[in-house]
C-alpha cells in the first residue's frame, strides 16, 4: 500500500504540490515511484523556465521505463532539486520528502482543480 500524505494537492498523473505562500513544490507520489521501480535519472527543467498546467516539464526514468512529469500548476521554475542529479534514488527512498521543482505560482485558483489526499487515494485503488 502506497503512502499518501494529508495537506498536499494531487493530480491524476501522480504528481503532488505542496503550497507555501505563493510558491509550490512539485514532486511525484509514492505510488508513482513504486510503479516505476529503481529510478536512475530525473530530467528537470532549468530555473526561469515556464511550466504550464497539464504540460510536461521533465521525465523520470528507470532502467526500462520512462514517465513524463506533468505539471499540476502553471508558473515559473525558481529552483530545481539539484540533489536528484546525483541521487535520483532519493525519489524511491521518500517521494514526498524529495520535491523535484519549486515553482512560483501564476494562478493559485488552479489548485482548486486538484485532488486532496482522500480523493487521490481513490485513484490509486482503481
Amino acid at each position: 500500500m502506497s503512502k499518501i500524505i494529508e495537506g498536499l494537492y494531487y493530480s491524476e498523473s501522480h504528481e503532488w504540490v505542496k503550497v507555501e505562500g505563493n510558491f509550490g513544490y512539485i514532486g511525484i507520489t509514492d505510488y508513482a515511484q513504486h510503479a516505476l521501480g529503481n529510478i536512475v535519472y530525473v530530467d528537470m527543467p532549468d530555473v526561469d523556465d515556464e511550466v504550464e498546467k497539464d504540460s510536461e516539464f521533465g521525465a523520470v526514468e528507470s532502467v526500462k521505463a520512462a514517465s513524463d512529469l506533468i505539471s499540476p500548476v502553471s508558473g515559473t521554475v525558481v529552483e530545481v532539486n539539484e540533489a536528484l542529479n546525483d541521487e535520483p534514488e532519493l525519489l524511491n527512498k521518500d517521494a514526498f520528502e524529495n520535491w523535484i521543482i519549486k515553482v512560483e505560482l501564476s494562478d493559485a485558483t488552479e489548485l482548486d482543480g486538484l485532488m486532496d489526499a482522500k480523493a487521490y487515494e481513490g485513484i490509486c485503488k482503481e
Binding site: 536512475v40 535519472y41 530530467d43 523556465d49 526514468e61 528507470s62 532502467v63 526500462k64 521505463a65 520512462a66 513524463d68
Partner: protein, 439 residues
C-alpha cells in the same frame, strides 16, 4: 519442398501438420482472402552455387577497377588482412542485437571498445554504439540540438559541408519541421561573420560545420565555440575520425557534438556501404544522445561486464517521445573499425596521415607545376585538395578514366578535388601527373 536451406522431409511435414491438427500446408493460410493469394512469382529460376559464382563473376566484369584519387565522402584507405577474417566469425556476424547481455558479452565488449576509441579520437566524453553512416549521424546530431534547444527550431549548416551530408540534413530538417539555413563560405571556409549574424536573433539550436571540409581544407574554428555558446546554441563538428589522430579534435575546438563517417578507418569503398557513422557528445548531452549505448557494470557475482544502458531514451520505451527512431547500430562495421584502430594503434594512424599528407602535397605541387591547374584557395589541407582546372574539367576526368584512374571530382564549376591516401604509390601519382602534362 526439399532444399538445402529447408531441413523439412515430407515425413516431418506430415508429422507437424498432424500435431497442429490441419490437413495441408494450404490450411495454414485459410484466413487469407482468396483474392490476394499469389500463384507464382515472375523471378529467375534457382541457381546452383557453381552458377551463382559464374553469374557474379560476369557481373563483376562489368565494373571497372580504377586507381582511386578521389574522396568526397569515401576514401580508399588500407585494410589489414586480420579484420575481414575476424569479423566473419559466425559468433560476431550472425549474432542479434545484444539484448541478452549474458550471452552477448563479445558484442557488448567490442562496442565499449569502439566507444572508447572514438572518444579518444574526438576527445568527447561520450560516444554511442555507432550510426548508419556519417550523413545520417549528422542529421541525428541536428535532431539532438533541436531536442536540447527546447523551443529553438533553427539549424545553421556551413555551405562548406560535403553536399551529400548537407542534402541528408536538409531532408531530415524538412520533414521534422526544422528551419534550415546555410552559412556562407568565405575564401573556402565557413564565414564566422555570417554565422554570427545568423546567430544574432537567438533562435538557433545548433550550428553544423565540418573539417576537413568539402574542398579538403582543414578549417580553423578559433572563436566559434564562444560565439555559438553565447547564443545558447550547440556546436556540432563533422570530422573525419582518421584525421583526428593528428588534427585538433572537436573537443579542443569546444564542440558539444562530434559526428562523422568511420569509413576512413579502413573500411573498403564497397560502392558506398556498409560504412559506419559515429556520434559523440559532452557528458551534459548524453541523455539526448540517440541510439545504442554500452556501459560497464558488474554481474551478480561481481564479474566485470558490459550492458546496453540508458535505454529509457530509446524508441522502444519512449515511442513517439524518443529523439530518434534509430533502433540498431552498424555493429559489425563498428567491430571492423575497432579492430582497425587496435591494429593501427596510436602510431599507425599517425603514420597513415603522414603518408597521405606527403602524397597529397606532392601531387598538389606537381599538378600546379603542369600549368593546367591553379590555386583555388590557399589553405591547409591533409589528404584531399581542390584546384581550379584550366582545361575543361570533363576532359581531365575522361583522360584519367581512359587510363584507369578515378580522380578529379567536380566540387564546383571547373574546380576538381583529388585525394591521396597511404595506398597510392609514387608511381601511381607520377602516372597521374604525366597524364595531365600530356593534355
Amino acid at each position: 519442398m526439399n532444399y538445402k536451406y529447408f531441413p523439412h522431409t515430407d515425413a516431418d511435414i506430415q508429422h507437424m501438420l498432424d500435431r497442429i491438427g490441419i490437413k495441408s500446408m494450404d490450411d495454414l493460410y485459410a484466413d487469407v482472402p482468396e483474392s490476394v493469394i499469389v500463384k507464382e512469382y515472375n523471378l529467375p529460376s534457382a541457381l546452383s552455387e557453381i552458377e551463382i559464382r559464374e553469374f557474379f563473376k560476369e557481373l563483376g566484369n562489368k565494373n571497372q577497377q580504377l586507381t582511386i584519387f578521389a574522396g568526397a565522402g569515401a576514401y580508399d584507405h588500407y585494410a589489414p588482412a586480420v579484420i575481414s577474417q575476424l569479423i566473419s566469425r559466425g559468433e560476431f556476424l550472425t549474432a542479434y542485437t545484444p539484448y541478452q547481455p549474458e550471452i552477448s558479452q563479445g558484442t557488448l565488449q567490442y562496442i565499449f571498445e569502439f566507444q572508447s576509441m572514438i572518444s579518444e579520437l574526438t576527445g568527447m566524453e561520450c560516444t554511442n554504439a555507432s550510426m548508419y553512416d556519417g550523413t545520417t549521424a549528422t542529421a541525428e546530431a541536428m535532431l539532438m540540438a533541436i531536442a536540447a534547444g527546447k523551443k529553438k527550431n533553427k539549424i545553421l549548416v556551413s555551405s562548406t559541408v560535403n553536399p551529400n551530408i548537407l542534402e541528408v540534413v536538409r531532408t531530415y530538417a524538412k520533414f521534422h519541421g526544422v528551419e534550415f539555413e546555410e552559412i556562407q563560405a568565405e575564401d573556402g571556409v565557413t564565414s564566422k561573420a555570417d554565422m554570427e549574424k545568423k546567430l544574432e536573433a537567438g533562435d538557433v539550436a545548433g550550428v553544423i560545420v565540418s573539417s576537413p571540409n568539402k574542398y579538403g581544407i582543414i578549417e580553423d574554428f578559433d572563436g566559434f565555440a564562444d560565439s555559438i555558446h553565447a547564443k545558447k546554441a550547440l556546436f556540432i563538428i563533422n570530422a573525419d575520425p582518421s584525421t583526428l589522430a593528428v588534427l585538433k579534435t572537436p573537443a579542443e575546438w569546444g564542440a558539444d557534438i562530434a559526428c562523422g563517417d568511420g569509413q576512413t578507418l579502413g573500411i573498403p569503398l564497397n560502392y558506398g556501404g556498409p560504412y559506419v557513422g559515429y556520434l559523440s557528445c559532452t557528458k551534459d548531452l548524453v541523455r539526448k544522445l540517440p541510439g545504442r549505448i554500452v556501459g560497464a557494470t558488474k554481474d551478480v557475482d561481481g564479474k566485470r561486464a558490459f550492458v546496453l544502458t540508458l535505454q529509457a531514451r530509446e524508441q522502444h520505451i519512449r515511442r513517439e517521445k524518443a529523439n530518434s527512431n534509430i533502433c540498431s547500430n552498424q555493429s559489425l562495421m563498428a567491430l571492423y573499425v575497432t579492430i582497425y584502430m587496435a591494429l593501427m594503434g596510436k602510431k599507425g594512424l599517425q603514420e597513415v596521415n603522414e603518408l597521405s599528407y606527403s602524397g597529397a602535397h606532392y601531387l598538389y605541387e606537381q599538378l600546379l607545376a603542369t600549368g593546367k591547374f591553379e590555386t583555388l584557395y590557399n589553405r591547409p589541407f591533409l589528404k584531399e585538395f581542390t584546384l581550379r582546372s584550366l582545361v575543361p574539367a570533363k576532359k581531365v576526368q575522361e583522360k584519367l578514366l581512359e587510363n584507369g584512374i578515378f580522380g578529379g571530382i567536380e566540387v564546383e564549376d571547373g574546380c576538381l578535388s583529388f585525394c591521396v591516401t597511404e595506398k597510392r604509390t609514387k608511381e601511381e601519382i607520377d602516372k597521374l601527373i604525366a597524364l595531365i602534362k600530356e593534355m
